[in-house]
């Protein structure tokens, strides 16, 4: 046993984790080496002193402060959107069952990736894109044609009527989405701070005004109905959906 060995083994020795044979050798070295004996004594003193330190007492009002912070956090939770709460529950599920949820998540990501790639090819990300692709050459224009999709617009008589019908259907899809999101927001909005609610209302009002102006412009456009002519209106609808979606997941409007 050398002094370097003592330095290497001193912590294990002092903690009683060293095997008996090496402990005996170390003790033998300590009998003839004063420097190493002092080193071991110092190590023991450090450990014993650290172990004898009294616990530190927290301030007497710390519980009150913690209780207040907990109350604050719970009130903030109550103001959060249902989507946020659902998301937190999903995250808890991931933490509890990382493997199955991870596999499901990976599968869902794969499905979304495929859908996005295929969706990108088909340009089907907006309600009215389906309409924009309608072509008189490929769409049957008579009610007797086979109806695979069950689309009521396939049963109308003329191409203009069909285009009009599909534009109205696209309008409905946008407006339904807006109505649904507006309903979700209405419940959350009650808990928003006044300034946040005012900002949100102003942004919604501006989009509503723009949509109203666009509808007035479309109302005086002479027939036949033009698909491309509704693009500005659909762009406004899409902006409103984006705004409502952000607000629904707790983002600031």
């Amino acid at each position: 046993m050398r002094c370097a060995d003592v330095e290497r083994l001193v912590t294990e020795y002092v903690d009683g984790d060293l095997d008996e044979r090496r402990s005996s050798a170390l003790r033998g070295h300590l009998r003839v080496c004063a420097a190493c004996a002092a080193r071991v004594e110092d190590e023991v003193a450090v450990r014993e002193t650290a172990g004898s330190l009294a616990p530190l007492e927290p301030p007497s009002d710390m519980w009150s402060a913690i209780d207040a912070k907990l109350a604050e956090a719970e009130i903030a939770d109550a103001r959060r959107s249902r989507i946020w709460l659902w998301w937190q529950r999903a995250l808890d599920g991931v933490r509890r069952h990382p493997l199955p949820v991870g596999l499901c998540g990976a599968a869902a990501c794969a499905v979304i990736a495929v859908w996005l790639v295929r969706g990108g090819e088909q340009s089907a990300t907006h309600p009215h894109h389906q309409l924009a692709e309608v072509s008189p050459e490929v769409k049957p224009s008579t009610p007797s044609a086979p109806v695979e999709s069950g689309d009521p617009c396939d049963t109308v008589a003329t191409h203009d009527e069909q285009t009009l019908c599909q534009m109205q259907a696209a309008d409905r899809r946008y407006l339904d989405a807006i109505a649904e999101l507006t309903q979700v927001i209405a419940e959350e909005r009650a808990g928003w701070p006044a300034a946040q609610a005012a900002r949100f209302d102003a942004a919604v009002a501006e989009l509503d005004r723009a949509a109203g102006d666009e509808l007035k412009r479309l109302a005086v456009v002479p027939p036949p109905p033009a698909v491309a002519g509704r693009d500005p209106l659909y762009s406004i609808y899409q902006k409103k959906i984006d705004l409502l979606s952000r607000a629904a997941v707790g983002g600031s409007p």
């Binding site: 330095e7 001193v10 912590t11 294990e12 020795y13 002092v14 903690d15 009683g16 984790d17 003790r27 300590l30 004996a37 002092a38 080193r39 071991v40 004594e41 110092d42 190590e43 023991v44 003193a45 450090v46 450990r47 014993e48 002193t49 650290a50 172990g51 004898s52 330190l53 009294a54 616990p55 530190l56 007492e57 927290p58 301030p59 710390m62 519980w63 402060a65 913690i66 209780d67 912070k69 907990l70 956090a73 808890d92 933490r95 509890r96």
Partner: protein, 217 residues
């Protein structure tokens, strides 16, 4: 219902040849049952249970946090730890002991705080001024010096030394709390104690001299 972190065998004089391991009270079945009952009640939002849980762990959490982050910000960090504990109890699965889980939250919060804040001399000076508690130790001045010397250890060494030597945990528990290997805990403790011996050199020499003087009388 406060329980102290360590039940160290009373004031033995250090000796190189007769190393005595600190006696540490093992958790009893009653403790575990109480913890389980408390956790369930806390999950139901019962304030009295939450306060009882707080009182059970307040000294351990506050002491650990104070010795890692220093006294100036310890209260803020300790409060944050308890908020995380109560808000996270729903995710406590009981795979480990409640105390281990709480220690893990406390150490993580303290180390994150230390690594996040800008490093300047004031923090270390504040930690160095940590008042020595009223100890019944043979040499209060050595305790005080050790408290101050903690400030000069790297945060990782400090955490291991506090958990192992002050809170009386074994390396398996320290490794579980810190999320490291047992060997890493051992090696960090070895380095932490070596640094401590270096920092406390003159005080330890005086301690030795006093013991020899006392022994010779």
């Amino acid at each position: 219902m406060d329980d102290d972190p360590v039940d160290i065998a009373a004031s033995k004089k250090p000796s190189a040849l007769a190393v005595v391991r600190p006696a540490r009270r093992a958790p009893t079945a009653g403790d575990l049952a109480d913890d389980a009952v408390l956790v369930e009640a806390c999950r139901r939002g019962e304030r009295r249970a939450m306060e009882a849980l707080y009182h059970r762990y307040k000294r351990r959490v506050f002491g650990l946090v104070t010795r890692i982050v220093g006294p100036n910000e310890s209260e803020e960090v300790a409060q944050e730890v308890f908020v995380r504990i109560f808000r996270g109890l729903g995710r406590f699965r009981g795979d480990s002991q409640l105390s281990t889980w709480i220690y893990r939250l406390a150490v993580n919060a303290a180390l994150s705080h230390v690594t996040r804040r800008p490093r300047h001399e004031g923090d270390e000076e504040a930690l160095a001024k940590l008042p020595a508690p009223e100890v019944s130790d043979s040499d209060p001045s050595l305790s005080q010096r050790l408290e101050r010397a903690l400030a000069h250890l790297p945060a990782g060494y400090r955490a291991v030394l506090v958990l192992h030597d002050i809170h009386g945990m074994n390396h398996e528990e320290v490794a579980e709390i810190l999320g490291c290997q047992v060997g890493t805990s051992k090696s960090q403790l070895h380095k932490a104690r070596a640094k401590m011996r270096e920092l406390l050199g003159p005080a330890l020499a005086a301690e030795r001299a006093e013991q020899r003087g006392g022994g010779n009388r």
